[in-house]
């Protein structure tokens, strides 16, 4: 028997991988793209006539659509987002103009299951598309969002303050391997306290948490990145290969301040953030499970990267935010080489004073982006246009704006587990879950 070629080996591995996935993980997006090959019942009609007739039909449709849109100012051009549930009332009291350090996070692993975490000591899970939310029992309050390497395997970082008079803090990494039904927690290493927590202890007030994020490519292999909020103590990465029993500290690139981390199979990790000296965006990547890091090539852009979404390790899109002023035009960062280099690309049109906050890319170049002018109004005096959402389905754009429910005033997070399935956390008078319906 002849030896297998690389393609045959890759094919065999892929087929076994896909076949062994738990049910519910393999799906197609029906009618998502016009068929380009194969039999057609119009095969007897010359193709050029089909093209001509198609062009005429499309032109007429575009003309009609343009007239309709022109007659209905303010209406979006994409199918809409619908408000489907209100989250736990405990979040009602949290103001929308949250600090950038600790915001809300939404992670949806399928058409019905989402995790929502926020700064009021709570993580919630729904398994019925937002109708019922259950609070997840964790040892502390969340400092990171829930990150899922698969629908079943998710992780989150939490912290807890000990009872007075001795104020002390404990950090925990919590993991689930059954889609959030049960969680196991391990104490995170003390180095994370040095990196993130000491300033709070020094002042006695947790005035600033700093950024921290955890990602587990497998249940055993996890990486935490944590921002130092007491320079010159550098920000740090901590990694484990034994499910948190032992941890090692790794140096991040000089002056790099991490905001998020995403790890993939085979030790590939990507962390986004900013350069603490130049106050410009920065990205670091590791190819060995977080033990060594290199700086990625990024455009010279003031601000930080707060939201990043990778549809696979090769394709990622990120949102830069400005530290100094509300942007007048939006842009996104795109990497097609696993985060090693990034380039700017036009983002969606912004309403006056609006800022793009979060995005989610379930598939290469298919992304939803959301933003609002709520925090910007506080910081920079934004305009009245409120929350907005936009989608792109192409590597070069353009972005299409979408209609949000009228009551929505601000957006917190967006998560799209697959094409056509997207959820968002948004503010009305309380925190609500939105679902995108085609």
């Amino acid at each position: 028997m002849s030896p297998m070629t690389d393609t045959e080996e890759r094919l065999t591995t892929t087929l076994r991988y896909v076949a062994d996935l738990p049910p519910g993980n393999v799906e197609v997006a029906p009618n998502a793209r016009p068929r380009t090959a194969g039999p057609s019942r119009y095969a007897l009609v010359p193709r050029r006539w089909l093209v001509f007739v198609g062009a005429v039909v499309v032109s007429v449709c575009l003309l009609v659509a343009g007239l309709v849109i022109a007659g209905l100012p303010g209406q979006g051009t994409a199918p809409g987002w619908e408000l489907i549930s209100t989250l736990n009332p405990a979040w009602e009291a949290v103001p929308g103009s949250l600090s950038l350090q600790v915001g809300f996070s939404l992670t949806c692993t399928g058409a019905t299951t989402c995790f929502a975490s926020g700064p009021n000591q709570a993580v919630y899970i729904t398994r019925d598309t937002g109708h019922i939310w259950h609070q997840v029992a964790l040892p502390g309050q969340p400092i990171s969002g829930v990150q899922c390497a698969s629908p079943n395997n998710c992780s989150i970082l939490t912290f807890r303050e000990s009872a007075p008079p001795k104020s002390d803090w404990s950090w925990f990494m919590s993991e689930t391997s059954d889609g959030g039904r049960t969680w196991s927690s391990t104490r995170a290493p003390s180095a994370i306290n040095v990196a993130v927590l000491m300033p709070s202890l020094a002042t006695g007030v947790p005035s600033r948490y700093g950024w921290a994020s955890v990602s587990c490519a497998t249940m055993a292999s996890c990486v935490i990145v944590a921002e130092s909020v007491r320079p010159p103590v550098p920000s740090a990465a901590l990694f484990t290969t034994d499910a948190g029993r032992t941890w090692a500290v790794a140096n991040l690139p000089h002056r790099f301040v991490p905001s998020q981390i995403q790890c993939f199979a085979r030790g590939q990790c990507l962390s986004t953030g900013f350069d603490s000296t130049t106050q410009t965006i920065a990205v670091a990547f590791s190819a060995n499970g977080g033990s060594t890091w290199s700086a990625a090539r990024v455009p010279d852009l003031s601000g930080a990267i707060l939201s990043v979404s990778c549809s696979s390790l090769s394709y990622c899109m990120a949102v830069p935010i400005s530290f100094t002023a509300a942007p007048t035009t939006s842009s996104v960062l795109v990497s097609t080489d696993g985060g090693h280099s990034w380039s700017l690309q036009a983002g969606p049109a912004l309403p006056a004073g609006g800022t793009l906050w979060k995005l989610s890319c379930p598939v290469r170049a298919n992304c939803w982006a959301m933003g609002d002018n709520w925090p910007v109004q506080v910081a920079f005096g934004g305009g009245p246009d409120g929350a907005f959402a936009a989608a792109t389905t192409d590597t070069r754009g353009p972005w299409r704006s979408a209609t949000l429910p009228p009551a929505v005033q601000g957006t917190e997070a967006v998560s799209c587990p697959s094409i056509g399935t997207c959820f968002a956390l948004a503010w009305t008078t309380t925190l609500v879950l939105l679902e995108y319906r085609t």
Binding site: T5, V18, A19, N25, V26, N31
Partner: protein, 173 residues
């Protein structure tokens, strides 16, 4: 027909037709056959259709056809597999008639090579896709694949060759 966890035969006509007391026309309880064959068939149908939901339905349909068959097939496992492959082909033909092709949704944070290869496999025409799945997942010889697909072994060989050439071209850096 599917319950919320994706399981089959919880309610509806199949549960009535496949209970432990119901035997197929070869005398062996169909429920026993279902228990032993279902998972493998489901995986095969998943690879052929790219859809878990459709795979479940087609596996169920294959068992319905087995139960309804008037002549008892000697190799019921092989019979089920043949019926299933045909059902998958019919399903994809129906999609083709709708003038659209479904695209695979990327697997949740699968390794990029897996995502890219899976997407490339899903773009293959049905015969080529079936040939590579039966050859490289099920390890079937070309003669048996030809039997399953209702074509000559030479056709299987050329389908495999073309499929591999396409994959090699699409997956090359």
């Amino acid at each position: 027909m599917r319950n919320q966890s994706g399981g089959l035969f919880v309610d509806g006509h199949m549960s009535r037709n496949t209970g432990a007391s119901v035997a197929d026309n070869a005398g062996r309880p169909l429920a026993e056959l279902f228990a032993s064959e279902r998972e493998g068939l489901r995986r095969l149908a998943r690879l052929l259709t790219g859809s878990d939901a459709m795979a479940e339905d087609l596996v169920q349909e294959a068992f319905v056809r087995l139960q309804a068959s008037h002549t008892a097939p000697a190799n019921r496992g092989g019979y089920l597999r043949t019926v299933l492959v045909n059902l998958c082909r019919d399903h994809l033909r129906r999609q083709a008639r709708a003038r659209y092709r479904a695209v695979p949704v990327p697997l949740v944070q699968a390794p990029p090579e897996v995502d890219e290869t899976w997407a490339a496999v899903c773009r293959l025409p049905f015969r080529q896709r079936a040939a590579v799945v039966l050859r490289y997942y099920q390890d079937l010889p070309e003669a048996e694949i030809a039997n399953l697909l209702g074509c000559r072994p030479g056709t299987v060989k050329s389908s495999l060759s073309r499929a591999l050439a396409k994959l090699r071209k699409e997956l090359s850096p």
